[in-house]
């Protein structure tokens, strides 16, 4: 039995909130740089160059890449041989987020009640997903999610007879209709299968995978490639101002489902697809 103290968790989460908002992962950086070379639209090319410059300024000046520093989505992967010592784990996670957003000068964008809408002023509570696994690992992923793109996400409860064509149509139409608002170039997370809520979770989880890493299921890998290719033919382009770079990546996560259903969730993310993982 390995013991982890919640003070350790708080400190790490604090640092990770700040790190995620100032630095993009190398797969995202590389994808943005490469997209400048292939974009055909002159306006689109200029926009992509500015996005590249923005990343450098963020690093150089220690300023968040985007002013929407998001709602903190936290994924915990915990081995069942771990014991937590100290506070309640959930309280520790929220304390880490609270300190990170305060000390990192990040924007506090969370309101306490969806209708009354008073700002909690510390960006808590976080959205927390737990996954209990074998062994004694303790892995934390922080993925701040901005709502410009979150708002453009959709879920569809298709019929089994809709099949793969129905799935493609749902995803492509979502990007066609809403993508321009979500700060393209986009990263698209797709959930396929499960139940209503599992499917949405899968779409979010798909955003955590490196964008250049395909699914290890053959027909899903093929679907990822087809969809990315089709989406980049829509003409939406960088910032929705036209072009061939609408999405930098599209990842699909799947799960078994019911004989009567075919859930599809599309979680759209902008080019500021932030996620940081640490293992304690």
């Amino acid at each position: 039995m390995r013991i982890i103290n919640t003070n350790d968790i708080i400190e790490n989460i604090k640092e990770m909130c700040i790190e995620a908002n100032l630095y993009l992962s190398s797969d995202m950086e590389k994808a943005i740089k490469e997209s400048v070379k292939i974009e055909k639209s002159l306006i689109g090319k200029q926009v992509l160059e500015l996005l590249d410059e923005n990343m450098l300024i963020a690093k150089d000046k220690n300023i968040p890449i985007c002013q929407d520093t998001g709602m903190a989505v936290v994924f915990i992967e915990m081995g069942q041989e771990i014991a937590i010592e100290g506070d309640l784990l959930e309280d520790a996670i929220n304390e880490g987020v609270r300190r990170g957003y305060k000390e990192g000068f990040l924007r506090k964008s969370v309101v306490d009640d969806p209708l009354l809408r008073n700002n909690t002023k510390d960006n808590t509570p976080a959205i927390i997903h737990y996954n209990i696994v074998k062994g004694d690992t303790f892995k934390i992923t922080i993925a701040p999610k901005g709502f410009g793109s979150e708002n453009m996400s959709r879920i569809f409860m298709l019929k089994p007879s809709d099949g793969v064509d129905g799935v493609k149509k749902a995803i492509i139409n979502t990007v066609d209709e809403l993508g321009a608002n979500a700060c393209p170039p986009l990263v698209i997370g797709v959930g396929l299968g499960g139940t209503f809520e599992k499917c949405a979770f899968l779409a979010k989880k798909a955003l955590l995978r490196p964008i250049n890493e395909s699914s290890n299921i053959d027909h899903i890998k093929e679907l990822e490639e087809t969809l990315l290719n089709e989406i980049n033919k829509l003409g939406v382009g960088p910032q929705g101002l036209g072009g061939i770079v609408t999405a930098l990546g599209l990842n699909i996560e799947t799960f078994p489902t019911h004989i009567a259903g075919l859930p599809v969730a599309v979680n759209i993310c902008c080019h500021v697809n932030r996620h940081v993982t640490r293992e304690l």
Partner: protein, 183 residues
């Protein structure tokens, strides 16, 4: 070619702006996003004055990250404009001449822009670090309790934006998308 304009906007400036133009804005502009818009419209409904001097001015749909001690402002990119669509025509009828945000607008907003000769600019979404470099002074002028959503008067120096919908209704989101569409 990038052109420079200085606020406040006049009809002479507006009539020469076309969808697709890259523009640098210098002068004063005002921030307001969801909560501030809602409050302004409620004030107007109750016959109270609103804090933004609208005539000839520009509203930037933006809520910044907090500034550190050595900074004027934190990250300062645009938010999605369509959430302000239900409020925008009222403000345009009262003299607002420009909006800065990102993404498409509703047909009602575009109609009001044509009627009132108003320009809609896009700033680059997700480029908040870069945009903050062009903001030289910040003053909270109303609704301080809204935090990041408070109304701020910004002094900007060559703030880079693109005209995305002009006062003739030319819409870059539609015109340019069609050029590159092959599906």
């Amino acid at each position: 070619m990038i052109r420079e304009i200085i606020t406040p906007l006049t009809y002479d400036i507006i009539k020469n702006l076309k969808a697709g133009d890259f523009i640098n804005i210098t002068g004063k502009i005002y921030t307001a996003r969801d909560s501030a818009h809602k409050r302004m419209i409620t004030d107007l409904e109750n016959n109270k004055p609103i804090p933004i001097p609208l005539e000839g001015n520009i509203i930037y749909y933006m809520g910044p990250t907090p500034a550190k001690e050595n900074q004027v402002i934190g990250s300062a990119g645009p938010t999605t404009s369509n959430r302000m669509d239900s409020f925008a025509p009222t403000l345009m009828d009262l003299g607002l001449k420009g909006m800065i945000g990102k993404g498409e607008r509703s047909p009602e907003v575009i109609e009001s822009m044509e009627k009132n000769n108003v320009i809609y600019f896009a700033a680059i979404g997700g480029a908040g670090a870069l945009l903050s470099k062009h903001i030289t002074n910040v003053k909270v002028i109303a609704y301080d309790d809204l935090g990041t959503e408070a109304i701020r008067e910004l002094t900007v120096d060559k703030l880079p934006v693109i005209v995305v919908i002009d006062d003739k209704g030319n819409n870059l989101y539609k015109l340019e998308k069609d050029k590159y569409r092959s599906i």
